[in-house]
């Protein structure tokens, strides 16, 4: 009797969450059906029919068609360069947090923390608008450079094919570093004060305390960040690169996510676009599983 009642209650509870499950099914699972378009020669508005079936044609195109191969290699180079730069400098927020913690003047510390976090909360469109205002030919940087006589012609910072990766990395860092540092600041706050005091009594100076106490205690956090970076290696998002793209830098700024978008919306390569995003998803899941396994091996726990 009690058991039956419990079962009925469980089913009732299931009915409560059913509407939510349906939303998840519609917006996350149902679209997966669209993956079949990768195996057809889809040209809307013509509906999909069996005589458009092309099998693995698009997957073969990626490795056989010389034009596409060149394009895709370029896109991969951009993706690897930008993700690689982020990975290479992933320690920056950690060091930022470590030295920020060394500041004894609390109001100044709070101020720095507050203002460096702001950019994280504005959209890429706004970042671009700011970039445009500051770096365009009549922007503040060019105004100052010309006033000082460093250059007579305004320097085109945004409309240029030079240092694209580095510039994009700078914008990413400008937007995210302060925010990313918060996690490390929280980790540093968790360090046992007696540990640092004891070291100080033993005659350790600041650099020694940083090296032997602060950094080792936050390394586990850093490790997780690196693993997540690796897992998301192919995912740069498209917004940043979409807004910063122009005819000068397009060869270098087109990362995988943007390429998939451009193929789909720009050049009508619908099926190829789907094929590439399928491959990307598969590789990303493999990367995630691998890094998670590795993390389990090293730290004894994964992050999924």
């Amino acid at each position: 009797m009690v058991n039956k009642k419990k079962k009925w209650r469980g089913f009732q509870e299931f009915l409560y969450i059913l509407p939510f499950l349906i939303i998840v099914a519609i917006f996350s699972y149902y679209p997966l059906y669209g993956w079949v378009y990768a195996f057809f020669d889809y040209k809307p508005p013509k509906p999909l029919s069996m005589d458009l079936f092309v099998g693995f044609k698009w997957f073969k195109t990626m490795v056989e068609n010389p034009v596409k191969v060149k394009q895709i290699l370029g896109v991969l180079r951009n993706t690897f360069a930008i993700s690689g730069l982020s990975l290479l400098f992933s320690w920056f927020p950690m060091i930022f947090a470590v030295f920020l913690n060394e500041i004894k003047c609390v109001p100044f510390k709070k101020f720095v923390q507050t203002v460096t976090t702001i950019p994280n909360f504005i959209s890429w469109v706004l970042v671009f608008s700011i970039a445009y205002s500051v770096f365009s030919s009549t922007g503040v940087i060019n105004s100052i450079l010309m006033e000082l006589g460093v250059t007579t012609e305004p320097i085109m910072f945004l409309k240029s094919a030079e240092h694209v990766y580095f510039k994009q990395w700078l914008w990413l860092t400008w937007k995210n570093a302060g925010w990313a540092a918060i996690m490390y600041i929280a980790a540093i706050t968790g360090i046992d004060e007696e540990l640092t005091e004891a070291a100080r009594v033993d005659g350790a100076n600041r650099m020694q305390i940083i090296r032997h106490i602060t950094i080792p205690s936050i390394l586990p956090t850093y490790f997780v960040i690196v693993m997540l970076n690796l897992a998301n290696f192919l995912t740069n998002g498209m917004e940043q690169f979409y807004v910063f793209a122009n005819s000068f830098n397009k060869e270098y700024i087109q990362v995988l996510d943007l390429y998939v978008y451009n193929l789909a919306m720009g050049s009508g390569g619908y099926s190829l676009s789907v094929a590439i995003s399928i491959l990307k998803t598969v590789v990303s899941i493999v990367l995630l599983t691998a890094t998670n396994k590795f993390s389990k091996l090293v730290r004894g726990e994964g992050f999924i």
């Binding site: 299931f14 939510f20 519609i26 996350s28 600041r206 676009s273 995003s277 899941i285």
Partner: protein, 313 residues
């Protein structure tokens, strides 16, 4: 090292005396962080002072440290741009509705997945949580939205983002930390699943809901991609999208605005004549202002918010 000895040591004052090396490090840190802070603050300040300065000067990049020939007509002018006010309403609408949806669904699902009696609890939990790790891609999503008649529809801003596995898990972890006795006692008193949720759980998990609300709201306000993909009808453009268009077509808007406002006294209005720069800067201030205004209030939720990324499913 005993606690007492450390206290003694602290009070002795000796340890506050910095060595020469320490002092050099101190000075360098202050300088470096001042530069960081400046780099983060100045662009906002620069855009603001340009939006209230003489448009002729800002056009030529002459406004750098402080505003010159202050006037506020730019703000009145941009309001006349076709569609800006509509865009503001759409952005505000999606932020409010989207946040309510996301907060409620995360709280409710987070709570329901702690109910041991729930039929198929583990399976359904994984069913929702797994969606964090894959994405069907642009074309399949576009086709889905078309099939559901959600393109050029306000609800495309809200429904796909209504359920966030991240926030759901965050809420679930929080609910799990609430002692069981509370809901047990309530259920002995005859409260049902829903009753427990609304009158006991919701008030308890308020702090975490505040975090979820803030982060969803900022995401909604900043969203750009969905307009780009699914919306072609001007009425449904968001502020972010409109701003992006303005940056790229500021010169045509300039002609439009000046044509409609050209008064009799041309010389006097030169400084207030709209330029591509003035429009761009002013709209930027309008779009960024809401985020900066609420920023001080949600700052205290940061540490919780950052945990979202590190949460385990």
């Amino acid at each position: 090292m005993g606690k007492k000895k450390i206290d003694e040591y602290k009070s002795s004052g000796v340890h506050y005396k910095q060595s020469f090396g320490d002092r050099v490090i101190s000075i360098i840190t202050y300088i470096v962080y001042s530069v960081f802070a400046f780099v983060c603050v100045y662009p906002f300040y620069y855009i603001f002072i340009n939006s209230i300065s003489s448009n002729q000067l800002s056009e030529r990049g002459k406004v750098i440290f402080w505003p010159k020939e202050v006037h506020f007509t730019n703000y009145a002018s941009v309001m006349k741009i076709d569609g800006l006010f509509d865009a503001f309403k759409v952005s505000l609408g999606r932020t409010v509705v989207g946040t309510i949806f996301a907060v409620f669904s995360s709280a409710f699902l987070g709570y329901m997945f702690t109910r041991k009696t729930l039929w198929g609890r583990k399976f359904w939990f994984r069913f929702v949580a797994a969606t964090m790790y894959f994405n069907a891609g642009i074309i399949p999503l576009y086709i889905t939205m078309t099939n559901l008649h959600l393109t050029n529809n306000f609800w495309v801003y809200v429904l796909p983002m209504a359920i966030s596995p991240f926030y759901m898990i965050l809420c679930k972890t929080f609910v799990e930390s609430v002692p069981n006795e509370l809901s047990d006692a309530a259920s002995i008193d005859g409260a049902g699943t829903l009753r427990i949720f609304f009158s006991i759980m919701l008030p308890i998990i308020k702090p975490i809901l505040a975090t979820v609300a803030i982060f969803t709201a900022v995401n909604q306000w900043n969203a750009f991609q969905d307009t780009l993909l699914y919306i072609t009808e001007k009425k449904l453009y968001t502020l972010q999208f409109v701003l992006y268009n303005y940056i790229n077509q500021a010169s045509s808007i300039k002609a439009l605005l000046n044509g409609s406002t050209s008064g009799t006294n041309i010389v006097a209005s030169m400084a207030k004549m709209q330029t591509a720069t003035s429009i761009r800067m002013t709209v930027t201030v309008v779009v960024v202002a809401p985020v900066l205004l609420v920023y001080p209030f949600f700052q205290r939720y940061f540490t919780k918010g950052i945990m979202i990324g590190a949460v385990k499913g």
